[in-house]
Structures are given as structure tokens and as C-alpha cells.
């Protein structure tokens, strides 16, 4: 009896479970997504909408009056006589120069590094760690360190160059050296991160493809050109996009190493937005700048996708 009863219970339970699974509702996928969606709505979409609303006002959260100004904050950015246009476009130019100068190095150099570090040689893990190590440092650390290294009069770099009779270079106070310094520091600092992603990509390329290429008599360069590069395409698209965005969002290096100088030539867009929003407390104008910057970045990202997307043969 008892056996039968329990067997019946088991059967019943089974049926119940199977019905539950069979009858999963339309909401199920969304319920699974819900935890992330809640955070996404709360911390990305919500603030984005709120930010746009802000950008239509003269907004200072501490002042009782927040007059609605419509698109004036945006119009001001295109009016050379306004207080916000010149600093903003100067900073966009600085951001553009830095991005164009740094992305090729940040995409190309780590690729070479990854290919090297993917070979088998003694001490490989050690070198992988060495190249990745700078990335774990905070921007404050590298900023301060390079301010000492790059100092015109007492920096170790100029002292070293002096041995070869090269006269003092104002790494932080003279153009184009200030950009050279910022790009070099950034490459040194973040190249390791991109290398690791490339390395993961390299390890995903099936060894059979290399074997097949070898059987066809391909040399090292041909293998790289025809197996490695196509195999890395998705990874490369990812790296180009995130590097573009990271470079366009450059902030700490300029603040700490060049202080935006000489003049305002290395004052990046983010610096101007931060200054406008959080030290001048013109949050409306600052959010308008942010939206314009975001728009520019979206366009750039789309262009990159269009250029490097996988072509169907």
C-alpha cells in the first residue's frame, strides 16, 4: 500500500513538473532577464533619459529654479560666441587627435605581442604577466609616476636622452610632445589588456587550420596573413571598438600628466564635461555636451562596424 501510494505520489509529482515545464509562459525569458534588465533600466536607461531632460534646462541641482531652455544648450554648442562652444570643440579636437594617434598602436602592438606570447618558449607565463602588469595599476599611480619620469628638468627620460646629446624636451608642456607622451603612456599602460584578448582569440583558432596551411606549403607570413588574421576578425572588431571608446573617454592621463596643457591642447572632452557639470555646476550644458559626444561616438562605432564586418562571400 505504502509503496503504491508513494509511487503514485512520485508519478503525480512528475506529471506536475512536466506540465509546469511544458506550460512555461511567454514571460519566462523576460523573467530570466529581469535581474539584469532592472539594473540596466535603473542605471543606464533611466539616467540617460533623465540626462536628456536635464540637457533641456539650465540645471543646477542645488538651485530652486531650473529654467527650461529647450534646445538652447545644444544650439549654444554650435554658436561660436557662446561660453560653451569654444572649450567643447577644442576638447573634441584634442580627443580626436588622441584617439587617432593612440588606436592604431593599441590595436597593432598588442596583436604582435599576443602572437609572440602565444609561442612556446621558456618563461612564457612570466612575460605574459609582465606585459599585463601595468594594466592593474590605477591611473593615479601611472599619472604621478610619469609626471616624475617626464619632468622637463629633472625627469629620468630627459636625463637619459641627454646622454645622447638630445636637449631637454618639454614632454608635458610642449606640442607635439605632450601628445606623444600621452599616447606612449596609454599604450604602455593598456596594451597588455588588449594582448590578453588577442591571446584568447589566438587560442580559439583550431590548430588543424595551421596544419592544413603547412601541408599546402604556406610560410610563416602566409599562415599569419591567411589563418591568424581571418581567425581573429571577430576579436579584432571587438578590440577596435572598445579601444576607440576608451581612447575617446580619456581623462585621467591628461588631468594628471599635462593638466590639459600646454594651453588647452590636451584638455579632453570628458575634462570639459566634468568641469562644466561638476565645478561650474552647469549640468544642463554638460549633459548636452555628453549627448553630442555620445552621438559622435555612435557614428564612429557604426562606421567601424561597416568597415570591418565579416563580408559574406
Amino acid at each position: 500500500m505504502t509503496v503504491q501510494a508513494s509511487a503514485g505520489a512520485v508519478r503525480r509529482r512528475r506529471t506536475r513538473t512536466s506540465t509546469a515545464v511544458r506550460g512555461y509562459g511567454r514571460a519566462t525569458p523576460y523573467l530570466f532577464l529581469a535581474p539584469y534588465l532592472v539594473l540596466f533600466l535603473l542605471f543606464v536607461i533611466g539616467p540617460a533619459i533623465f540626462g536628456f531632460w536635464m540637457s533641456l534646462h539650465d540645471w543646477d541641482f542645488q538651485l530652486p529654479g531650473k529654467p527650461f531652455v529647450g534646445l538652447q544648450n545644444y544650439k549654444d554648442l554650435f554658436d561660436p560666441l557662446s561660453a560653451t562652444a569654444e572649450p567643447f570643440w577644442h576638447s573634441m579636437r584634442a580627443t580626436g587627435i588622441f584617439t587617432v594617434a593612440s588606436v592604431p598602436f593599441l590595436v597593432g602592438l598588442p596583436l604582435g605581442l599576443a602572437v609572440l606570447l602565444n609561442r612556446k618558449f621558456p618563461g612564457r607565463t612570466f612575460f605574459r604577466a609582465v606585459y599585463f602588469a601595468p594594466f592593474v595599476l590605477g591611473v593615479a599611480v601611472i599619472g604621478l609616476m610619469f609626471r616624475y619620469i617626464l619632468d622637463t628638468s629633472f625627469g629620468i627620460l630627459n636625463a637619459f636622452l641627454g646622454l645622447f646629446g638630445i636637449s631637454e624636451i618639454g614632454w608635458t608642456t610642449e606640442q607635439p610632445w605632450a601628445f606623444v607622451a600621452l599616447v606612449a603612456v596609454t599604450v604602455w599602460w593598456t596594451a597588455g589588456f588588449n594582448s590578453i584578448i588577442y591571446l584568447a582569440g589566438l587560442q580559439d583558432i583550431p590548430p588543424e587550420q595551421y596544419e592544413a596551411a603547412e601541408l599546402d606549403g604556406a610560410n610563416g607570413w602566409q599562415k599569419f596573413r591567411n589563418v591568424t588574421l581571418p581567425g581573429l576578425r571577430p576579436v579584432t572588431v571587438f578590440i577596435v571598438i572598445i579601444t576607440l571608446l576608451a581612447s575617446a573617454n580619456m581623462f585621467g592621463q591628461s588631468v594628471l600628466i599635462t593638466q590639459g596643457g600646454p594651453g588647452d591642447t590636451t584638455t579632453t572632452a570628458l575634462m570639459v564635461i566634468t568641469d562644466t557639470g561638476f565645478s561650474q555646476f552647469r549640468m544642463g550644458q554638460a549633459t548636452a555636451m555628453s549627448y553630442l559626444l555620445a552621438l559622435c561616438l555612435a557614428v564612429v562605432a557604426l562606421v567601424v562596424f561597416a568597415v570591418v564586418r565579416e563580408r559574406k562571400s
Binding site: 543646477d60 561660453a83 569654444e86 609626471r147 628638468s153 629633472f154 608635458t172 594651453g263 568641469d275 565645478s279
Partner: protein, 445 residues
Amino acid sequence: MNTINRRLVLGGIGALGIGASAAVLSGCGEGSAGKPGAAPATGDGGAKGYDGPNVELDFWNGFTGGDGPYMRKIVDQFNSEHSNIKVKMTVMQWADYYTKLPTAVSSGRGPAVAIMHVDSLATNAARNVIEPLDDVAKALELKQEDFSDVVWKAGEYNGKRYGIPLDVHPLGFFYNKAVMTKAGLDPAKPPTNADEYAAALDAFKSKGIQGHWATPFPFTGVLSVQALLWQFGGELFNSDSSKATWHEEGGVKALSWFSDLVKNGHSPKNVAQDADNIAVMNGKNAFVWNGIWNINTFKEKKGLEWGVAPLPNIGGTKAAWAGSHQFVLPKLKTPDQNKSSAARVFVNYVSQKSLEWAKGGQVPARKQVRESAEFKALPEQAALATQIDDLHFPPPVPGIGDALAELNKAVNESVLLKAEPGKALADAAARADKILEANRKKYGA
């Protein structure tokens, strides 16, 4: 427009907005004396002490440097002498501090007491971050005569007092005595005027020493140029602070004198941040104009023979740049009588202990402390204190720092020899005028 806006904000569009409006609303009825109807415990402004229940006071400031430990010492001493008040001091970088404080105040997490630079008072008063404290001044019987005029007036905005001066930190003239001796100069007699200064620089040059490195950065290149501007009879802004006037004669003369240091070979080109000061410590540079806070930096350097004097009078009128730390009382979202009274007791206490603070490298704001024998026993601080009546502060106008940031750019470009002083200053003034105009609109002046 305004009401729609307010309603939407209160309707829950953003926690930030709610906090802000609430702070403003509560701020209106609150006044500095706390709850209406209650005994005016702050009426004595802290002069008679505090005998209420135990309270904990948050005290925020940006003393991250060598001055921090001195303030901590004063706070510890205060805590040990007041069993019912516990002051908790929180230190953060000034730059973060000025961003954080308004947000904290608007969300009701602001401190009960804080320190602010004099040039930030007007902005924060206009933005409802701090409350007027005339009652404290009255109760402590602080009078204009106790302070120097500029310092006292600098704590006022719109006819109300918002800051109780703690100290002033003027620019001073630091010199390396060994380098002076090497160039055949008397280290006991640093130059005091333009001719003597020029002669000294030439003496250094004949020995192959670049005697006064000119730095293009705000600390302390721009501060030096501001001092020179006042010396040459210029002003930063016109009388109602609606226009920048630093591109007029005084300003151009000042910036020309300063960037000529580079052109005439008394300074290397492209001096990096702080390199001018380090060079004096290494004996590569002889003169540097730096803040009074530099005293302890030089003291710590072993074997450095140095002296400090008031700034030489280059332009014809004695003048020097200075900053001032002032006590402020941030608005409390929920008025708390006990906190308000205890905070006033604390301000009063520290204000009287400012001699201890002076050891951290500051000039006490109180005349009585400044004239005490103990303060005079701090020779370096006392030397710089003689400038007290020649000090200048930016006008108490909300957002004035936004406009002054443009001057920084002009000095930078000019000292780096990228632009002529006259043009750099005029361009910067034009940009600053736009900012001033936008600020007038924003703050409704």
C-alpha cells in the same frame, strides 16, 4: 516654467532633484537658529559652551597635506575637553570635496561643520550649500578689528556672513641662501624691489644660474601673476565683477614681467609642475614665489639653507595673492538644535586655537593670535604675516572661479611662449566675460 519643473521634480523624476528641492525648501524656513519656537540654543553662537546630550559632529575638510595632522591634533584636543561632543574629522582632496559637499548636503548627509576656501564661499552660499552664521560672529564677539579688513570682508556675501576666518595663506618669496652666496649676494638681504630683483637675477645669470623659474601652472605661476597684477595697479575684474579687466595695463605688465623671466634666460622653457620649487631645493634655482604652506616642505629638506620674505614689490604697490580657510556651517536637511549649537562651540574653540594651526604653515586670521609672542616665535610664518594688509582675494561673486580658470590658460600660453601676453590676456578676458554673463543669469545677480 518653474512650477512645472518643480512639480515634475517632486513627482519623482530623480532622487537627486528631490533631495535638492527638499533641501531648498527646508532651508527656507530653517534659518541658522534651528527650529522655530525652540529655545535659541544657537543664540549664544557657541560662546557659552554646550551642555546638551551627546552629539557627534562630522567635520569635513581637504587638509590632505602636511596641515592635516595639525588639525587632527586640535580636534583630538577638543574631543578630550568636551565629553558630550565628539567631532569626527573626514579629510578628502579639495577637488573632490567641492563636488561632494553640495551633493551630500542636498541628500541630507552633509557634515555639521566644514572648511572652505574664501573664493568658494559666494558660490556655495548662492547654491544653498552653507548657511549664514552672523549669530556665531556676534556671539563670539568677533569684530572686524580682530581680523584684517580683507579677510573679514571676504567672509561676507550679499550682506551676510558665511565664513569665520581660520587662517590666511599668502604667497611668499622663498630663496636659497647658498645659491645667493654663490652669486655674491648677501643672503640676509633678499631683494625687495624691481631694481634689486633684476640686479640679483643678473648676478645669478653671470654665474650660469637661472634664478627665478617661471612655471606656467596655476600653482604657483598664475598666483604670482595675480600678485604682480595688483602690484602694477591692475584689477582682475571691474567693480561689479561683470567684466574681466586683467587684460588692461596692470595685467599685461604683470604677465610680461613674468614671461620675460623665460625670454631673458632667468628661467628654462617648459618648466613642469613643481619643478621650480624642486629646483630651489636642489640648488639649481635661487628664487621661487610659493605659498606659505611651502615652509614645512623646505624645513623637511635637510641641509637646505633657505629664507622667506614678503614678496618683493616689483610693480610699485605692495600686494600679494592669498587664500584663506574659513569655517562654514553646511545646511542641515533636518534642523538639529544640538548639532547646531555644538558646531558653533567647535568653531569658536578652533578659532582660538589657531596658533597650533599656524605651526602647520599658516597665518592665523585672528589679530590677537597673530600679535602674540608665541606666533612671533615662528619666524617664517611671522615674516609672511607682515603682508596681511596687502593681501587680495577674488571678489565674492558666485562662480568667480569659472571665470578665473580662463586666466590660467592665458598665463599658461604666455609663459610657454605660445602667445604674447597682451593677446593671451585679451582672449581669455573675452571668454571670461561670457562666463560672467552666464553666471549672472544663473545666479540671478
